[in-house]
Symmetry: C2
Subunit: 353 residues, 2 copies
DNA sequence: TCATCTTCCGGTAGCGTACCCGGAAAAGAA
DNA sequence: TTCTTTTCCGGGTACGCTACCGGAAGATGA
């Protein structure tokens, strides 16, 4: 039972009650050495009793050293600017907390180049860090890196994709399986008969488990609901338009009865482009991510639905989770799954990435 | 062009450069009286030049008086607990900023009782306020109230519904027209032939323009896209289940060809209940809001889609907007429309209100 | 000219916490 | 016992800013 008017007590009051100086109280608050067991207990019990909440304003003000965070995420390439959104969110959070004495270093790696990831982790480890936000795109290397972080007692959070069974503070990102499941549901709702074409477009092997997990969810929807729809699958391992076009043309002439196309990642705009170019009609097209290219086709009606997962908010929440945990010492959830948003021609203008 | 390492300057440095005391700098910072025009200009130019950003930590710490906010929203009734969600968001924001010396008073009124609203505004005005978050459910009364706020120079923000052309700092809530428009789009996608039943369930006259605006958007969708679907409309002015049941039974026996039902607010669970009870099959049902009752029917498949607008986030953002504007002195948007979210059986578990 | 107001400004005590410095008391070593 | 360590603790200052108090000029009136 808390008091209604929580009179704010400070170290001074605690010191008075314990008959010690505030310096001693401070020592037990930060459990530094130099306090006898007896007075320590006494002070602790008073802290408990008063439910002392330190004044974070004063704490940050008095604390001379800034808190140092670092992020490690893929760089924005001209191949995909997906990571622009998380970065925006990260920078928004940075702007909000910089005045509270938090510094943020940003490191980027090349998604097509493992060694760039490793190299950046090494640079990063040279700094004196209090927390890391990390996109563990390369699994082996990420595990090695986080092992090192644990050894140094530096907390870290995964963003966008998770590596289970790690000691991360939290994971912030999509639930891939459920996302695929939802895609199945949407497609099933929207058409009656015909086959479904499932399109994976990706060359990075490491990111492939991403797509597989979505596919799993997608297929599970149909199994679980005993829906007998034929799913034709195609893997396209080259991400230039020419290759995509060739592959799509081939499969679509072979499979005449395809009525819906599910692209398992953000490259759906290529497929949309192909559909327009080939004057294909009446195919339901579903893909991922709120990218400008995709939105263009959504507006025109070539893409029917986009499934999005608030990449900007992922970045924002990632940094804020670090801040809340490390500065505010608030408890945080072990996993924060982003909502699965359905974006259409009508609501895209109101979508906030 | 800002410096990379923005060396943090404080009042002390400004005072040194201007050859005055920090007290004088403080005076111009808060444009208090007692500074000659000449030194004022000098100090201001130095502030400009150095791009001085006050240390908010120190400011809040040194400022003895707490900042006082107030909210005025409908109380949670057993008729509808819709406002629980915004209140949760508000309390979340409160918890986050209370440590920065912000106090929040909460006032509630009865949606079925105008005079309770007026009474609360009067109580509220007795306090010494720095900002108000307000649900302007009663238009005339709200305008009178905000006029008074303006006279006293108290900034305010509207939440949930807007009154245009007012001097509010911001509006945070849904875009009703677009929401209805989206509902039209969804329904049109999901079935081929038959009539649409549009159901308004509401007794509060003042809230009625809410529903009308949604209906307008809904109808506009069909007009704009030259879709010729018959829309049957029913207004139910009593909100108990018995009345609803009677009305629905009547219209559905009369209109045999109704294939889709669009309920324009959160009372869709009543309709779902009726549908189950009457063993009606194969009707598409769309309504609003992420309420427990609604989710139950969504799970069972009786309700197909719910359109939601993050009520909790509305509350959170409302308070945070006040905070950002008044404490942080950050610019805020004149209107912040919430995203229009589509919730289904598959993604509801990941929806964050 | 002297008294009284204004105008303009500087000094300074906090706000609640962190942390350094140095000193007293207790414990160990001789 | 006396000297040296070690353990334990208090005093005091700093963080950047707010706001009160009071004082030195200048302006005004008689």
């Amino acid at each position: 039972m808390k008091k209604v008017e929580e009179e704010l007590v400070g170290v001074k009051e605690i010191a008075r009650r314990a008959n010690v100086s505030i310096a001693t109280v401070d020592r037990v608050l930060h459990n530094r050495t130099g306090v006898s067991e007896k007075t320590k207990e006494k002070i602790n019990s008073i802290i408990q009793e008063l439910d002392y909440q330190p004044n974070l304003l004063a704490r940050r003000l008095a604390s001379r050293k800034a808190i140092q965070f670092a992020i490690l995420i893929p760089q924005i390439s001209n191949e995909t600017d997906f990571w622009q959104a998380p970065l925006n969110g990260i920078e928004q959070a940075e702007a909000e907390i910089i005045q509270y004495g938090i510094k943020l270093d940003k490191y980027f790696f090349d998604l097509n180049n493992k060694s760039s990831f490793v190299k950046q982790t090494q640079v990063l480890l040279k700094g004196n860090l209090d927390g890391v936000l990390l996109a563990p795109s390369f699994i082996e290397e990420s595990i090695a890196f986080t092992k090192e972080l644990q050894k140094r007692n530096i907390p870290y959070i995964f963003i966008d994709s998770d590596i289970p069974n790690q000691e991360s503070l939290s994971f912030i990102g999509p639930d891939l399986f459920q996302t695929g499941y939802l895609a199945g549901h949407l497609i099933n709702y929207l058409f009656e008969s015909g086959k479904i074409l499932l399109v994976n477009i990706s060359k990075e092997i490491d990111n492939h488990h991403h797509l597989l997990r979505k596919e799993e969810g997608f297929r599970t929807y149909f199994q679980k609901n005993n829906i007998n729809k034929e799913i034709v699958k195609i893997d396209i391992r080259k991400t230039d338009y020419k290759s995509i076009k060739k592959n799509l043309a081939k499969i679509l002439t072979k499979e005449k009865d395809v009525k819906a196309i599910f692209v398992t990642n953000s490259r759906v705009s290529y497929v949309a482009h192909f559909i327009e170019e080939s004057s294909i009609q009446d195919k339901l097209l579903i893909g991922f991510d709120f990218l400008n290219e995709n939105i263009e086709y959504l507006k025109k009606g070539t893409i029917d639905f986009l499934i999005c997962q608030k990449p900007q908010e992922q970045g924002y929440r990632g940094i804020m989770a670090l801040y809340n945990k490390i500065v505010q010492q608030a408890p945080i959830e072990k996993a924060y799954f982003m909502p699965i948003d359905i974006v259409t021609k009508e609501n895209y203008a109101f979508y906030r990435n």
